[in-house]
Each structure stands twice: as C-alpha cells, then as structure tokens.
C-alpha cells in the first residue's frame, strides 16, 4: 500500500501538457494578438470595429445560425424516430441494424458529399440552399443518431412500465417519461452537429449556391487573402460564441442529467 501511494507517475502527462501549451494555448493567444494588430503593425481595435460595423458579417452570422438551426432540426426530426425504433423491441435484437445506420461515419465525409451531390444532380437538384441543407443532414445524421440511440437503448424500461401501469397511455408515457429521459442524448446530438456547421464551409461550398455560405467560409477566404487581422477578429468572435454555447449546453445537460441519476447513467 505504501509503495503504491508514493508511485505517482504524473510526469507521464508532461509531454501532453507541453504539446497543449504550444499547440493549443499559444495559437489561441496568437488569434487574439493578431486580431488586435492593425495593418501597419500597431495596436488597434479597428479589426473588431470592422467586424461589427460591417452589416454583411452580422448578416452572415445570422445566416449561419439559420442554416445550422434548420439542418439540425431536420436531422433531429429524422434521427429521433429512427433511434427510438432501433432501441425498441424487436429491432434492438438485430445488432447489425443499428450498425448499418452508423457505418457512414467511417467513410470520408467529402466522398459521401460527392456521392450525394452526384445523386441529387441525377434527379435534377443542382446547387442550392436546399441541397446544402440536405448535405448537412446527410453528413451529420450518424452523429445525431448515435447519442440518442445510446441513451434510449440504455434506458431503464421499468420507468415506462411504471408509467403505463399507473394509467398513462403510450403518448403520455412518451412525452412525460421517455422524451425527458432522452434529453441528454438529444443535447449531445445537437451539440455534435450545430457548432461544427459554423466551420463546415466545405459542404456549403460543394452543395450550396451564392446565397449559401457559412461564417467559416468567410474566415477561410480572409486568411487566403492575407487579411490576418480581420480574419483573427472574426475567429475570436466565433470562439466567444463557441464558449457561450458550450456553457449554456453544459448548464442545460447538468440540469437534465439529474433525474436519471437513480437509474442507469450511461451516455
């Protein structure tokens, strides 16, 4: 016992700590520094003023939130029933079935988008806002499905049975028992999809038209044009949004995870 207590190989984490400082912390500081440097190299808030004074940026931000919200909502509406069916009997006994829905996760997403685009072109759907939304839903579907399916299939069935025994009908049981208990899965699915869409300019560029563009595309273009200050300021704003969403998300899931504590708490 004594020996084990003195055996503390914390030093094993040092390489990772070093890597994290150099390649995670320093870059974030650099984004902040570059966003505060003007074209002449002096300290300035002009980049941030430019970001907020240009209505196009605000517009683009709202558009990004719009397309992210729309795609996430559609994906959730399709994924939830599928997850619910897969987790219910007799489908939960067919192991390969759920796997079939997850397999695309392991295929390069750009190739899947290429396949989808060819397919849509074949049936006469060209580059458009709708096609971009279809692309998002197609790409993120397994990531939305998996957390919801995991929560539903790990759920203690006795809660449902209790609700039914106590006289609630199927719909009421679903709304009052199953749905609230599956909220952690839903939140996890939404967060796996909503935020990445801000960055996934590849899908909007491939599938969308001139009107479909996310804020990530704007940042990428700015850096390609060597506007590092402006691009960094926009990145920094996005970073602040990410942190805000993350805090809201963890506050929400903190609240919802409480009721399941008595039962199985698997995510």
């Amino acid at each position: 016992m004594k020996k084990a207590k003195t055996f503390r190989p914390t030093a094993f984490a040092f390489p990772y700590v070093g890597v994290t400082i150099v390649f995670v912390i320093v870059p974030l500081i650099l984004v902040l520094i570059y966003s505060l440097i003007g074209e002449d190299g002096s300290f300035t808030f002009n980049n941030f003023i430019d970001v907020f004074s240009n209505p196009e940026n605000v517009n683009q931000l709202f558009k990004t939130v719009g397309i992210a919200a729309l795609s996430t909502a559609i994906c959730l509406v399709i994924a939830y029933p599928v997850a619910y069916i897969l987790a219910s009997s007799p489908f939960n006994k067919i192991a390969i079935l759920s796997l079939l829905f997850i397999i695309p996760m392991w295929i390069n997403f750009m190739l899947r988008i290429f396949a989808l685009k060819s397919m849509l072109q074949m049936i006469g759907i060209g580059q458009s806002y709708g096609a971009a939304v279809i692309g998002m839903v197609y790409d993120f579907f397994p990531y939305m499905l998996l957390p919801i399916y995991t929560v539903l299939s790990n759920m203690d069935k006795s809660y449902n049975e209790a609700s039914l025994d106590l006289g609630a009908n199927g719909v009421k049981t679903f709304l009052k028992v199953t749905l609230p208990l599956s909220l952690p899965g839903i939140i996890s699915g939404i967060s796996m999809m909503f935020m990445p869409i801000f960055s996934s300019y590849s899908i909007t560029m491939a599938m969308g038209d001139m009107n479909t563009s996310v804020i990530g595309a704007k940042i990428a273009t700015l850096f390609e044009q060597d506007s590092y200050g402006y691009g960094s300021a926009l990145s920094f704003v996005l970073l602040v949004i990410v942190i805000a969403v993350m805090l809201i998300g963890s506050a929400l899931s903190g609240k919802t995870s409480k009721p399941i504590k008595g039962g199985k708490k698997d995510e």
């Binding site: 990772y16 700590v17 390649f23 397999i103 850096f223």
Partner: protein, 279 residues
C-alpha cells in the same frame, strides 16, 4: 405471441421508416459503386458496358494517388503519435490531484469543442509566428499537418483510454510493486497490457478523425501544395472531378466495410471467450 392487428401495422410502419432512411443513406453510395464499373462521364448517364477501366485510370492518376498516399501517411503517423501521447497523458492525469486534473481536462475540451476553423487559424498563425517572427527554419509541410492532426486527435484518445484506466483494479499494480518489480516494469508489464484494447480503439478513432479532416488540412496546406483525399475532392467538386474518383470511393467503401466486419467478428469472439471464462 398473439399480435393485435394494430401492432402489426405499427411494426410495418416502423420497418418502412427504417428502410426509407437506409435507402436515403445508401442509394448515393451504391450509385457510386455501380458507376465505378461504367465508362459513363457522370452518374445517371447511360451505363454502357461493364468495365474496369476506371480502376486502371485510378492507378495512373498521379495526383489522386499522391492524395491517397498523403491521407494515409498523415493518418497513420498522427494516430500513432496521438495514441502514445494520449495514453501516457491518461496515465499521468490518472495519478494527478483533482485540481491539476481539472485544468488539463478543460484544455483538452478546448480542442474538442472549439470551432474547427478557429483551431485551423490558430495553427496557421502559429506557423507564421514560428517562421516569420521567430525566424525558425520551418514551413507548411506534411510534417506540419501530421503535428496538427496529432494535436487535434490526442484528446479523443484520452477520452477513450481514461475510462478504461479508471476501471482497472489498482491491486494488480500494487501487487506488482510489492513483489519487487520497479515502477516502470510494473507499468509496462501490468498496466499497459490491460490498456491495449482501449489503445487500439483510441488509435482507430484518431485515424478516422484524421482521414475525415478537411478544414485544418485545407487551411494549413495553403502554399504547401499537399493534397489529401478531402482537399482533392473539395477543390474539384464545384467543377468536374475525374471519373476515377468513383473507383477510389468504391475501394474505400470496401475497405471500411471489411474492417468493420473483421472488427465485429473479433469482438464477438472475444465476448464469447470471456463468457466461457466466467463459466
């Protein structure tokens, strides 16, 4: 079991929902596979005669081959590094005090939740800083991409290995130490073998994340002229991609499918073996 007609209808509806969604997922992929054996210019054109010519063309397309090679090289090396870094980090974090553990966990979270585009810009600016401000002899290259991929995938390895580490019986390590084995030897002969499964899962996760990456690779190859499959497809998708891409896609689908089947067979075998042991 005697089923009411309404439950049979419900069952049919459920099957229909699953089949429609599966069809939507797989139809585009199946079309690509089918048309990889056709000389047609694009999908949906007249199929023509069955041919393997696209596969022949694929192995003559230097650009596509080098993109594939880059993708694999970056994926394998970065996943290996991430597995080593992530496993050692997990062991270190496991023995840390609560406070320092919380700080490291939070910084791992940064990489996972941060918008990819911001992470990509961070790497880009870091390279500019190293090259132009510190005047170090470095530049955007495949090595830089390997480093970037290692950094973004390591937190996922930690997420895979850490839970397994918590499950381990601490007595086995203590027994090894009490019986006179040094800390290093105990670690390598007692702890690491028990972590092997989680390390393999971590490697697989890191590898797939690396293969799938687009944003970080795209931004950090500005001016370096390195293509991966993702950036190659991206740069051509708005205009015209060579038809050989259908052959490449088919090969990739096949590899993914075969690996998953093999993985599941091994998993089932192990599950059966461990059941037998218990009995």
């Amino acid at each position: 079991m005697n089923k009411k007609p309404s439950s049979i209808v419900a069952l049919i509806v459920k099957w229909l929902v699953l089949i429609i969604v599966l069809a939507a997922i797989y139809l585009p992929l199946i079309m690509i596979v089918a048309y990889s054996f056709s000389p047609a210019r694009s999908i949906g054109d007249e199929f023509g005669t069955f041919t393997l010519s696209l596969y022949g063309k694929l192995f003559e397309n230097e650009k596509l081959l080098s993109a594939t090679r880059n993708t694999l090289v970056i994926g394998i090396i970065s996943a290996t590094l991430a597995t080593l870094l992530g496993t050692t980090a997990s062991i270190g974090i496991h023995y840390m005090r609560k406070k320092s553990r919380a700080i490291i966990d939070a910084s791992s979270q940064i990489t996972i939740v941060n918008a990819e585009i911001v992470t990509a810009m961070g790497f880009f600016l870091l390279m500019l800083f190293l090259r132009d401000t510190l005047l170090l002899p470095v530049n955007f290259s495949i090595t830089w991409l390997i480093i970037a991929h290692t950094v973004i995938t390591t937190p996922y390895v930690i997420l895979t290995v850490s839970p397994r580490l918590k499950q381990l019986n601490p007595n086995t390590l203590e027994a090894s130490l009490d019986l006179g084995a040094g800390p290093m030897r105990s670690l390598f002969t007692v702890m690491l073998p028990q972590l092997a499964g989680a390390m393999v899962s971590g490697f697989a996760l890191a590898f797939t994340l690396s293969l799938d990456d687009f944003v970080i690779t795209n931004i950090n190859s500005i001016g370096a002229d390195i293509e991966t499959i993702s950036t190659f497809v991206y740069s051509g998708i708005r205009k015209k991609l060579p038809s050989e891409i259908r052959a490449l896609s088919t090969l990739i689908f096949a590899v993914v499918l075969i690996s998953l089947i093999v993985y599941n067979i091994i998993k089932n075998k192990n599950a059966k073996n461990s059941k037998g042991d218990k009995k």
